[in-house]
């Protein structure tokens, strides 16, 4: 047999080649015999492959994880996964290695005499439950878009159902809240109506401040690959900084910070003036509204746009008339299929909701939505920002499945599903992230539990927003972080394939995986931690943790109806708790047409895009594009496109007359440069995982400040010099990068935020969008001092 004549190295090389050929659709290059032999080799080596979505960004790539002897030993892109079709980026490829950092947290730690000291789970749980019981109304939970769906659901039930208030918010507030409010205000429902398939059939992608070559590289490859196959596609990169995305773009349109609002209104101005908008689509599907929510006519809207002349837009934004005409021309052409992409560049914006609305305006006015290849599409940065934060609703104002705490009917339904007495749920929205941390700093909140995130590094204006005296801070994480430094209790968590999980990605795709290996030491699942503390509260007689019959609020039952004692680690780990928890959550999803299939359907698939409903034959069918007849089961025959989540009851989307508003802080004589912060290819967010992977650390070990070469010449600054970047709030010393991977526009600097040893968030501003409460990390004023 082939095993006899091929060495193991040769087999592995053949596997590698096969995977690459298949990813290019060239699987015929490898014989059937070789494939069989390869599979046999995996088996003989005890290597088992399991599916899981990647643990990092919101794209949701499918990975195959190779496990041998209880360890993850290999990762490959899953060719069956529709998202990535076998590709992975550098972070996904190292996702396995992220499990094995030398300093994994393996035991609970409790601060005693100023030092974190090893403690038992029993002691830690008892301490946390005692602190909560003492002051439960002033105890908050701060979570994450990296929570699995069931982790978020459990935390939400723990806090809103158990502690009976709403001070729970996720780090997703810092990355996609503006997208959420943008969707809600325009369409009446959250999340993109389009999907990744639109990238396969569009003519043009317009990137609105989005460096997807580095931040969402697999989607970028999926699009660029079309060019190499001969498709005539275009990419327009609108940005304030030249990046790897710019290198592949057909046009680079550089604009002044915040003027994306002017450009969007300027495009609409030209569409209207030239009578080049889609009149039929607009008449049937759109209504117009002012900033203060009054319904207006299209003539009123035209009058609003009058001031956004090409002269004004080009003068203030810095783009040329040709560039503005290029954009307006794309959206004017009824045959051109256009996808708009954005992420943090638009969301982290003091008018984040407004700029989201304005890009929808462009697509609605041009009718470029609800058609294959034409859609506005908001990308996300975390693996389950959509699935957990937006769908489960782990936000201060939300209840599961798109419900709101302010809405009485929503509260009653939630109380019924959770078997709570009527009136148990608090109608008052809780504190959003920035307000929550400000309340923690002042002592208005006396306790907080942080899970799966690192606010000690990621909050804006850290000097103001991350400090404490006697307040009680619990942190669940996998590694020591900037946040654990301040913690009173540190709980070691299981991560990714060390536990069962479900994530929801940017295109409404819910993906499931099973636990593959044990977590190290005494590390335990975040869900278990929450259930164990809730149970301790219940045992102490804490009323909130009882349902209306006096039973444990977070009780979990198996399919036969028998209670699983999930607060006991041995019972938890010997059962798949995710399944009953998901089924409990699933009851909430139909009302707002976010319908999910039963858990077992997700086991069979590489994800399904909601709404997922049963067809006439009882088969569970996903939805590719929402609001589109023939694709979305809730659009009736003959309706074509129907924005059926319209709160006005007319199945229309809103075009908003949102005026340009300047940023709260602009460069001046004392602070003459713009500061923009962001991510890099090699590191994921605050890099608590990726910086522990030697190869990624070596590739990009520390933060730097990027300068435009012209600014550097004028200031006599050379590559490698050290600069102190100073704002009105703080400063940080960084080495200079000139003509590196990216080049910021003149008068601006860029600093990545991944480096715990050089915290740029000591410098940033915590001003936020008044609607979404999402802070603007992309614009504040700084000066540069040579060190």
């Amino acid at each position: 047999m082939i095993n006899d004549v091929m060495s193991r190295q040769e087999f592995l090389k053949l596997s590698a080649k096969m995977a690459a050929l298949a990813a290019l659709g060239l699987g015929g290059g490898v014989s059937f015999l070789e494939q069989v032999a390869n599979a046999a080799d995996d088996k003989s080596r005890g290597l088992k492959w399991h599916k899981a979505p990647c643990r990092f960004c919101g794209v949701g790539c499918g990975a195959l994880v190779g496990v041998r002897d209880g360890k993850v030993v290999a990762v490959q892109g899953d060719r069956q996964a529709p998202v990535n079709k076998g590709l992975l980026c550098v972070k996904g490829y190292h996702a396995g290695a992220a499990l094995y950092g030398k300093d994994r947290l393996t035991h609970p730690l409790i601060r005693k005499n100023g030092q974190l000291q090893r403690a038992s789970w029993e002691e830690a749980i008892d301490l946390i439950a005692g602190k909560i019981a003492k002051d439960s109304k002033r105890f908050a939970v701060y979570g994450s878009g990296q929570w699995t769906i069931t982790e978020g659901y459990t935390a939400m039930k723990f806090l809103k159902g158990g502690l009976r208030h709403n001070h729970i918010d996720p780090n997703a507030r810092l990355c996609m809240a503006s997208a959420v409010v943008g969707f809600l205000t325009t369409f009446g429902a959250d999340e993109p109506s389009g999907c990744y398939d639109d990238l396969d059939v569009c003519d043009t992608v317009v990137c609105w401040g989005n460096n997807w070559a580095e931040m969402h590289p697999v989607l970028f490859s999926r699009f660029i690959d079309r060019r190499q196959r001969g498709d005539k596609i275009k990419m327009i990169d609108m940005a304030t900084r030249r990046t790897r995305t710019t290198e592949a773009a057909d046009h680079y349109i550089e604009f002044q910070p915040q003027t994306d609002m002017l450009i969007a209104n300027g495009i609409c101005h030209l569409l209207i003036k030239r009578e080049a908008y889609d009149k039929e689509f607009v008449a049937k599907n759109v209504r117009f509204k002012t900033n203060d929510e009054k319904v207006i006519t299209i003539d009123d809207y035209k009058a609003f746009l009058e001031e956004y002349t090409p002269e004004k837009v080009t003068q203030l934004s810095g783009i040329s008339l040709e560039q503005l005409n290029l954009l307006a021309g794309l959206f004017s052409d009824p045959k051109e299929k256009v996808v708009s992409l954005w992420c943090m560049g638009m969301n982290q914006h003091t008018r984040g909701t407004a700029i989201n609305n304005l890009v929808y305006n462009v697509h609605l006015l041009s009718g470029k939505i609800g058609k294959p290849g034409s859609t506005p599409f908001s990308l996300t940065g975390q693996p389950s920002a959509c699935g957990t934060c937006r769908e489960v609703g782990t936000l201060a104002h939300a209840l599961p499945g798109g419900r709101l705490v302010k809405n009485e009917e929503d509260r009653r339904e939630t109380e019924k599903n959770w078997n709570l007495p009527e009136g148990a749920l608090d109608p008052e929205p809780g504190l959003h992230t920035v307000a929550m941390f400000k309340a923690f700093v002042t002592g208005e909140l006396t306790g907080m539990w942080v899970q799966v995130t690192n606010p000690g590094q990621s909050l804006p204006d850290l000097n103001a927003n991350f400090k404490k005296k006697d307040q009680f801070l619990v942190v669940s994480d996998v590694y020591p972080t900037a946040t654990t430094k301040l913690a009173d209790v540190v709980l070691p968590s299981a991560m990714w394939v060390e536990k069962n999980g479900l994530f929801g990605n940017s295109e409404r795709r819910t993906q499931q995986w099973f636990k593959m290996i044990d977590p190290p030491g005494e590390a335990r699942d975040d869900v278990w931690q929450m259930i164990a503390v809730a149970r301790r509260l219940y045992e102490k007689g804490f009323e909130g943790m009882k349902d209306k019959d006096g039973n444990f609020l977070l009780s979990i039952r198996d399919e036969g109806g028998t209670e699983i004692k999930a607060w006991r680690w041995d019972a938890f780990r010997s059962n798949n708790i995710d399944k009953p928890l998901f089924e409990d959550y699933r009851k909430f999803t139909a009302k707002k047409h976010k319908d999910l299939a039963p858990y077992d359907e997700y086991v069979k698939h590489c994800g399904l895009r909601w709404p997922v409903v049963q067809d006439a034959f009882g088969r569970w069918q996903e939805t590719t594009r929402r609001y589109v007849e023939g694709e979305d089961p809730f659009v009736k025959q003959g309706e074509g496109v129907s924005f059926y989540m319209d709160k006005g009851g007319e199945n229309r989307a809103n075009i908003w007359a949102r005026p340009y508003e300047p940023p709260p802080e602009v460069p001046d004589n004392d602070y003459p440069f713009w500061l923009c912060t962001g991510r890099v290819l090699e590191h994921w967010h605050t890099a608590t995982m990726t910086r522990r992977i030697k190869e990624l650390y070596n590739a990009n070990p520390w933060a730097y400040v990027e300068l435009n070469p012209k600014d550097a010449r004028e200031l006599s600054i050379s590559h490698g010099d050290k600069l102190r970047v100073v704002s009105r709030r703080g400063s940080v010393i960084l080495p200079v990068s000139i003509n590196g991977r990216s080049i910021p526009q003149e008068g601006s600097v860029f600093v990545p935020f991944f480096d715990e040893d050089a915290l740029i968030n000591l410098v940033t501003l915590d001003a936020f969008c008044p609607l979404s409460k999402q802070p603007d990390y992309k614009k504040c004023a700084v000066r540069l001092e040579k060190v």
Partner: protein, 82 residues
């Protein structure tokens, strides 16, 4: 030794030139050149060298993007809780 495969996406103008250069690397084998894509199978002594190789390839003029498709690292050093 870590074994990986990469799809190297080029700008189309320098594909053959890049492929010829890659053939000179002792850690790598050019398995296939298809249109503007090059399939490279790499065998390195460590994950560090693996990453260094990949970073080097991304800096070659005309290379637009490297996508890692497969990675086996079971024998790599340090791949355990230590």
């Amino acid at each position: 030794m870590p074994i990986s495969s990469l799809i190297i996406r080029t700008d189309g103008r320098r594909t053959q030139e890049i492929a010829e250069y890659l053939k000179t690397l002792k850690e790598a084998t050019v398995s296939e050149v298809h249109n503007e894509n090059i399939i490279l199978v790499a065998e390195t002594v460590s994950r560090t060298q693996d990453k260094t190789l990949w970073e080097g390839i991304e800096k070659i003029p005309g290379v637009l993007q490297c996508d890692l498709i497969y990675h086996n690292f079971e024998d790599a050093e340090g791949f355990k809780y230590d």
